[in-house]
Symmetry: C2
Subunit: 252 residues, 2 copies
């Protein structure tokens, strides 16, 4: 059961913003037992988004999580581009429009903005692809969207990390089932990675786990992450390596 993540934003491609969103999403999907197979990033361009969404759908992931601009400016094209990719019209969600309106009225009352009225940019945020279910944005104006299309569960989330994280926790994860997959981070006291390599291979042959290793400076420790579906499997793999002389410390 694999998942893909698509993040959208010129600022991610030009390196002005580090894409922490896709890491957060990847972590949550992994915990729920999804194999995150690929992450893709494209710019705020309807054509590019449309192309890449269609490519992803052809690979038939169980879940596709998209994070990109849903706001009021010219470069917030995520929702309309995904609608085009799916061949669905953007439809006004009346309930969403009411919420957008209430959001700006609240900001006005609280003195943050000087005009509470709906303008074209604000109205745009209430359009979702036909057949989509709105996802509530507790941290901002624009709703997200959930669509099941060709057997793929597609979630469209905002690009702003605070909004995206809240929507992922509150609206997406409850639709993806319980936490299934666990991981354990360890520090192996080994002088260098090349000496650990044969033992890792042997461990993988004996236990149903995945192991990632990364050097943490020569002469000190190698960082190890063991992933598995059960605590027993992970402890088994750890014990096996210990029986071969590796000493572990917790965390990193």
């Amino acid at each position: 059961m694999f998942a893909e993540v698509l993040t959208i934003g010129d600022e991610l491609l030009t390196g002005n913003t580090v894409d922490s969103n896709s890491s957060f999403i990847g972590q949550k999907l992994t915990e729920r037992g999804y194999w995150v197979r690929r992450k893709t990033t494209v710019g705020d361009d309807v054509g590019e988004i449309k192309t890449v969404v269609r490519e992803i759908l052809r690979r038939k992931p169980a879940v596709l999580i998209i994070s990109g601009g849903l706001g009021p400016t010219h470069d917030d094209v995520t929702m309309v581009a995904v609608a085009k990719a799916l061949g669905r019209n953007p439809i006004l969600c009346e309930k969403c429009l009411e919420k957008v309106k209430a959001f700006y009225e609240r900001l006005y009352r609280e003195g943050y903005i000087d005009d509470p009225n709906l303008n074209e940019g604000r109205r745009k945020m209430a359009y979702l692809p036909e057949g989509a279910e709105p996802l509530e944005n507790t941290e901002g104006a624009a709703p997200g969207a959930y669509i099941e299309h060709g057997g793929v569960k597609i979630f469209i989330l905002p690009g702003m990390p605070r909004e995206m994280k809240a929507m992922l926790e509150n609206e997406v994860l409850p639709r993806l089932g319980k936490r299934k997959f666990i991981q354990r981070k360890l520090l192996a006291e080994v002088t260098d990675e090349s000496k650990l390599a044969p033992l890792l291979i042997e461990t993988l042959e004996h236990f149903n786990v995945r192991i990632h290793s990364s050097p943490k400076g020569f002469g000190n420790y190698i960082g190890i992450i063991i992933f598995g579906e059960s605590q027993e499997e992970i402890e088994g793999a750890k014990g096996f390596m210990e029986s071969r002389g590796v000493r572990f410390e917790e965390g990193w």
Copy 2:
């Protein structure tokens, strides 16, 4: 002239590591006038890497920069997977093997490791795809590789940020020409983004620039990045917005 970036690593997909490498690479490519059109991340899996490299080559970017595990362990499969994707055999680079040997001998002399000899994992690092030029790694053992294939300049760099950055600066950028493209980061004193939207569209119609905007909290500022090929074009766009009443502050 567009470029693509491919980062490889299970830890990027599971969210254990935030992919700062691709941001750094994107920034440097953007400065050199390349439009970074897409970033992709896959895991440490020969089949996945092979598939995605072939997909990227079909899109014919001018440059493809790959960053992934080049080290001695079982999950460092970048070099062999790219070789497979290109239909080229991995060939022992004798000069590289000498350097790998010298690297471990130095670590041994300095007391970091207790065995200076080449083992299978260490030897593996000296294999490059047939016809590739080695790229020097000033910060670690494994060399990178440069290959021109089907009109695409392909650079294979390490995944460790310190090694990747040094190799990008010293070995890749000199092969990609001078810095061409500039950007200016500004803070626009506008109460909210939706009011700025029509003015941004008008500015884009008059000037050969790209503009990215992102809210920095309501009631304060909107972050603006103007990209252009010349300082004049960028200043023109800024002056135009100022003439319409936007006040700017520097940086963010």
